[in-house]
């Protein structure tokens, strides 16, 4: 009888432990065993479908660059500066960080996915406009 009780108790303890693990086992939390990229919040309103942009952004940037380069089509939002002005991350000096900084919006995911991009070897990686607020993780 006593043996059965102790078995039941240990089973309950195991369940409680599992429950506690499940609560704290949120993959995005800092305590997670697997590191996840902490994507900085956008400064402006949502203008694009995030899921589509995640898989399509490089194609859309390529498409746009050719149209601008060859045909002089210069849309206001759908251009690199449009992305950068909304996805700027404020550094310690109050200005937007450039691509040298690991906190740069583009770097957060590209570093995580081990993707090396060369956009910013030529292009400016900071917005022309001064960022006002937000941009923290």
């Amino acid at each position: 009888m006593i043996r059965r009780l102790s078995l039941r108790l240990s089973l309950m303890a195991l369940l409680a432990l599992l429950g506690a693990l499940m609560v704290s086992g949120n993959p995005a939390s800092a305590e997670s065993r697997v590191p996840f990229p902490r994507i900085p919040k956008a400064l402006g309103a949502t203008v694009h479908d995030g899921v589509a942009i995640r898989s399509e952004h490089m194609k859309r940037l390529f498409h746009q660059r050719d149209e601008t380069m060859r045909q002089g089509i210069r849309p206001k939002d759908e251009r690199l500066q449009g992305c950068l002005s909304c996805h700027a991350v404020k550094g310690e000096d109050g200005h937007a960080v450039n691509y040298e900084d690991p906190k740069h919006f583009c770097r957060v995911c590209h570093d995580y996915a081990a993707v090396k991009i060369d956009c910013f070897e030529c292009h400016a990686s900071t917005p022309d406009v001064e960022i006002s607020a937000g941009g923290t993780q």
Partner: protein, 247 residues
């Protein structure tokens, strides 16, 4: 560059798709988004325009370098103290008549030829001429071979030898690519004048006129009709868009 037929038909297709709705299902699970939906009304370059620049060498003086300074600021061209290899999109050239000893000073930049030899020799198609006559380097495809620099009779192009930082957003430039005067294409596309022309009128002698060579009512066309204009090395038959008076 003439309009690419495939891209225009593709555009029409995309426009038609955007009329039907925000996206069109072309197969189960495959949705075609009208990418050009928001851009349909935006202006694009046209061969109805040919941009040109007229320099009046009688007004230009040797001590004035307003155009050169403005270009450097506009495009973030930094020097490294190496005169032979530092990027130079526009330079002042002094002409001296051997007989009389008279000297003249004038700016020389990419002449935006109608038959550009840099475009002919480019192995990747990075050097190209836009429909409106502006000759550019597409640095996305430039491999830095520098054939165009050898082909250019005006020595208008530069090669970027150093890692660049602090570029202007409207003027991307990077190590390993060739670059030259763009006629400030980012300004021209929004109806503004190139930085050198603006500076020449503001701080200089007002020797430069920029405009549409195909429009008979433009300032540049009127001046060319009234006083003529010389193409440098016109004998090469490249028909540059930059013309000079008083040389």
């Amino acid at each position: 560059m003439t309009e690419c037929p495939t891209s225009s038909s593709r555009r029409q297709f995309l426009n038609a798709a955007s009329v039907l709705g925000a996206g069109m299902v072309i197969a189960p699970g495959v949705t075609l988004h009208g990418i050009s939906e928001a851009k349909a009304g935006l202006p694009r370059v046209s061969s109805k325009v040919r941009w040109g620049l007229l320099v009046d060498a009688n007004k230009c003086t040797a001590e004035c370098t307003a155009c050169v300074s403005a270009c450097k600021i506009e495009h973030g061209l930094e020097g490294h103290g190496r005169v032979k290899t530092d990027a130079q999109w526009i330079r002042k050239v002094e002409l001296r008549d051997r007989g009389s000893g008279r000297t003249q000073s004038l700016p020389v930049m990419c002449q935006h030829c109608d038959e550009p030899p840099c475009v002919d020799v480019c192995p990747t198609g990075a050097s190209f001429k836009r429909a409106d006559g502006i000759v550019l380097v597409d640095k996305h495809t430039c491999i830095g071979c520098r054939y165009c620099m050898m082909a250019c009779p005006y020595k208008a192009r530069s090669f970027v030898h150093e890692v660049t930082t602090g570029q202007k957003s409207h003027s991307p430039r990077g190590k390993g690519t060739v670059e030259s005067c763009t006629f400030c294409v980012h300004r021209v596309d929004v109806g503004r004048q190139p930085a050198c022309v603006e500076a020449c009128h503001k701080d200089g002698k007002g020797a430069m006129t920029f405009g549409d060579l195909k429009d008979p009512n433009s300032d540049i066309s009127k001046k060319l009709v009234a006083h003529g204009g010389v193409r440098i090395r016109g004998d090469l038959g490249l028909d540059p868009g930059v013309r000079y008076q008083g040389v």
